[in-house]
Amino acid sequence: MSNYKVVHYINQFFGQIGGEEKADVPAEKRQGLVGPGLAFKQAFGDQAEITATIICGDSWFNENLELATKTVLEMIKEEKPDLFIAGPAFNAGRYGVACATIADAVQTELGIPAITGMYIENPGADMFREKIYIVATGNSAAGMRKAVPVMAKLALKLVKGEPIGSSAEEGFLPNGIRKNFFENKRGSARALDMLTKKLAGKPYVTECPMPSFDRVAPQPAIKDITKANIAIVTSGGIVPKGNPDRIESSSASKYGGYSLEGVDNLTADTHETAHGGYDPVYANQDADRVIPVDVLRQYEKDGKIGKLNDWFYSTVGNGTSVASSKRFATEIAGKLLAQGVDAVIMTST
C-alpha cells in the first residue's frame, strides 16, 4: 500500500546519453530507473519506487521552454505518479532551471507533490525556491551521496502529507516562510559561534536574512486642501471606549471603522487605545494625542480643510504581520475611495 509511484527527471549527462555535445536531445521516457535513480531506490527502500525516468537534454529544454515543459508534463501525466523528483542538479545552471520548472509545473498543474535539489547558487534556486521545495546540495555530483537521502526523506514526507519542518531541519533552501524549530545550542552560544567565525573571517550563515520591503510611487499633491476631504487612519489602536470590535492588543486580526459624525474632540470617556505595545495611559486620557480629531474638526470649521471624513479607521500595529496590515489597508482604501476621501493622515505609535 505504501509503495508510492515516482517519476524521476534527469538530464542527458546523468541519463548516460552524453555530455555537452548531447545537450540538445529532446525528452525521452524510459521505464524503471536510470543513473541516480539507483541511489533513490536505496533511500526509498520499499516505500516508493521509480516507475519511469525522463531524460532530457539541458539545451533542448531551455531553448524550447514551453514545448519542453508541455512535453515532459505529458510524459509524467501518463504515468499517474504519486510523487515527482527532479535532479539533483548541483551547480549545473540549465539543468537546475529545467528541474525546478518541471517540478513547479507538476505541482501546480498536476497537483502531484514535487521536489528537486541543487546548489544554492544555481540560478534555478532563486527562481523557484519560494514555489517548490529545493533541497540544498553541494556544487558538484560528488554531493550525490549526501543529497539523495535528504531529498528522499523530504519527498516521502510530502507524499504522505506529513508536517514539514523548517528549512534548517529538512535541508531545503530557505523559501521565505519562517518556521520555528529547536536548535541544538541555545541562542547565546550560537551568537558566540557566529561572532567567532566573523572575527576570524570565516564564512557564517545568518539565521535571519534582512527583509526587503517594496516601494510605491508617491501620489500627486493635493491642489486645494480647503476643498479636500481628509480621513484619519491609525495603527495606534484608537477605538471607541470598550473596544467594540475587540481588536487584539497585539497581532491584530482585524481593524475597525468608527464614525466621527458630531465628534469635535476625543475624551477619556469616549475613546481609548487597544494597543498593547506602548504605555496606554496617555492615549486613554486623550486619544487626540494619537489621532488629531480636535484640530482637524476646528480646521474644518475654519475652512482650512474641506472636510474631516465621517469615518476613521483603526487597527493595532503591535506585532501585526505585514500581510495582515496589507489586507486591512487594501480594504480600508476601498472604503475611503467610496467615501470620496482625497487624502489620508495616517498616524502610528
Partner: protein
Amino acid sequence: MKLELGYIDIKGIRFGDHNAVEDHVLVVNPEELLEPVLADPLIKTAHFEIANPGESIRITPVKDVIEPRVKVEGPGGIFPGVISKVHTVGSGKTHVLRGMAVVTAGPIVGFQEGIIDMTGVGAEYTPFSKLHNLVLVMEAVEGTGQHEYEKAARMAGLTTAVAIGELARDLTPDESVVYETPTIAEGYQEPLSNLPRVGYVMMLQSQGLLHDTYVYGVDAKRTISTLIGATELMDGAIISGNCVSACDKNTTYHHLNNPVIRDLLEAHGKTLNFVGVIITNENVYLADKIRSSDWTAKLAKFLSLDGAIVSQEGFGNPDTDLIMNCTKLENNGVKTVIITDEYAGADGKSQPLADADDLADAVVTAGNANEMIVLPPMERVIGTLNFVNKIAGGHDGSLREDGSIETELQAIMGSTNELGFNRLSAR
C-alpha cells in the same frame, strides 16, 4: 571584578510553619512571608501557590520571574538601589537558590503578562517550566492605577525573593563557580592581549511605564548608554519592570542568569577577551534612539572592541534601536552579531523585522513569535484565565470551552527570549 556564585540546589517547595531551606527543600510559612507584601496599601489580597515541573498547572497572567539570591560576602546586597541600598555589587560571594523561582501573577497590569505551563507542549517553550515555582498571586485594591499596581507587584516579588534568598545565607553550596572580569589594562597583557576584544551590548526595554527596566534603581529610559560589570548583573543590578510581550521580555530571572554573559565568560581567556558590557536603552523618542546608539558605538570604540554581540528586548520600534546599534558598530569597525526574534505572521510569510539594514548580516533568531500553538487544558490554574483573550498573542476566542488555549507563542513567558536563553530558532 571577581564574584563567586555558590549554588544551592532546590528540589522542592512545601508550606510549613516556618521559613527555611531544609535538605534542598524550601519550606515556606505563607503568613510570615506575605506580611511585607500585604503591608503595601495597594495590595488587596496576596497568597502563595506552588507549581512543580511536570504538574498539570497553568500559571497566568505572569508578570515577573525572580531567582532568590543572597549576598554573603562583599559589598552591597541583592537588587541594589531597589531593595538593598545603593552600593556597587558584583564582587565577593553570592548564594543562589538554583532550580526555583518566585513568580508574580494575578489580575492584569498591562496587556502583556504571559503564560507558564508546567507540562505539555507549552512547557517546552518556557524555561520556567523546569523550575519549582513559588507563585505570588496578588490583587490590587480597586481603583489602583496601572502604573502604581505595576510598581507594587514588582516590589512585592523582589521583596519576597530577597526574603527567601536570605534563608540560604548560612548554607553550604552544592557547587561554586568563580566569575572574574579583567580591567582594560589587564586586557592588554599576556595572554589576553593575543585574543580578539569582544564586548556585549545589552539593550534594555525602556518604552515608558509598564515597559521599563531599572539599573541600580534608575529607570533605564533616563540613562544614556553606559558600562556595567558582567558580575554586577548576577547580583541583581538590573531588574525587570517590564510588561512587554511575555515571549521576549527579559524577566529579572533572565537578567540574573544572562546567557550571553555566561557564554562570553566561559570563552574568556580561551578564544576571546571579554572586555565589557555596554547597556543601552530603547526609548520612544527618535532623538533618544539616535543618541543612545551613538553612545553605544562610541563606547565600543573607546574599548577598542573587535567584535560585539547585541541582544534586543521586545520588538517593533526597538528593531530600529537594534539596527542603529548594529550599523553604527559595524561602521566603527566592530564585527557584530545581533540576537533578535521575529514577527513574521502566523504563516511565517511576512517580513520578520520592522527595520532592516544590509550591515546586519549576522543574525541569531529566537524564533517567530507569531507562530500559533495550542496549549492543552490543565487540571489547575494559578491566577486567572480571565485575560487569556486579551494578553499579547491571544485573541478573542483564544480560550476554548475545554480549557485549552489557542495562542501565539508571544503569550508564553520567555519563549522567544532575545538574550538567546533558549534553543528555539526559525529559518
